[in-house]
């Protein structure tokens, strides 16, 4: 594909509902990141997948947040029982991540989540 693809581009939901955000990384990229971008908070790291290693979940803000990466490719970020403070743009990025180095991250356009 041309780049990292995210869906949906916009999601409006009611407080308390669950949402799923999808990320399709660049083919062959072994590293995949989720970030949250909001006013005043900048770019918050959420979770990082690298190949077959256990993901780094240290940035997930609560147990309502979870993410999976199936078959080393597509990733889904799930937010359960959404709260208004979850409203933000959720960015996904992928990287070739050569061994021992942090490769250039290629970002998607983001999924804008609004919780009413």
């Amino acid at each position: 594909g041309a780049g990292v693809s995210q869906s949906p581009s916009n999601k409006v939901t009611e407080k308390g509902k669950d949402v799923e955000l999808r990320c399709d990384p660049i083919s062959g990229h072994t590293a995949l990141y989720w970030y949250r971008q909001s006013l005043g908070q900048g770019l918050e790291f959420l979770i990082y997948f690298q190949g077959n290693s256990a993901p780094d979940k240290s940035g997930l803000p609560s147990d309502r947040f979870s993410a999976e990466r199936t078959g080393g490719s597509v990733s889904t970020l799930t937010i359960q029982r959404t709260q208004q403070e979850d409203s933000a743009v959720y960015l996904c990025a992928s990287s070739l991540a050569p061994s021992g180095r942090t490769g250039e991250l290629f970002f998607g356009e983001g999924s804008r989540l609004t919780v009413l």
């Binding site: 990082y48 180095r101 942090t102």
Partner: protein, 110 residues
């Protein structure tokens, strides 16, 4: 723990003026430092990385380990430089997540 601090939320300069976007970091090991940029209605993208010691679009950044800084500089700002700039840090070993600062909005006016 690794941390990136960008002390300025907004930096406003006139066209042709010098620009310095500040970035300080905290990391116990040997870091890799990056600058990413997001222009209006565009995706976030890599601007430069310290290991390449390159100049991109007239911007340079030098890693100062003594001051734990990686400030982004350009001698003469252009209006097209207006964007959000993020400083980012990663550990050198594989498997280390890339952590970003909160970003600085650069506004260049004529």
């Amino acid at each position: 723990a690794q941390r990136v601090t960008q002390p300025e939320k907004l930096l406003s300069v006139f066209k042709g003026a010098p620009v310095e976007l500040k970035c300080n970091y905290s990391y116990s090991g040997s870091p890799e430092l990056f600058w990413y940029v997001q222009y209006s209605r565009q995706r976030l993208q890599l601007l430069l990385r310290h290991i390449s010691r390159e100049s991109i679009k007239g911007f340079t950044a030098d890693l100062n380990k003594g001051e734990t800084s990686f400030h982004l500089k350009k001698p003469f700002a252009q209006e097209e430089d207006s964007a959000m700039y993020y400083c980012a840090l990663s550990g050198r070993q594989a498997g280390t997540a890339l952590i970003f600062g909160k970003g600085t909005t650069l506004s260049v006016s004529s």
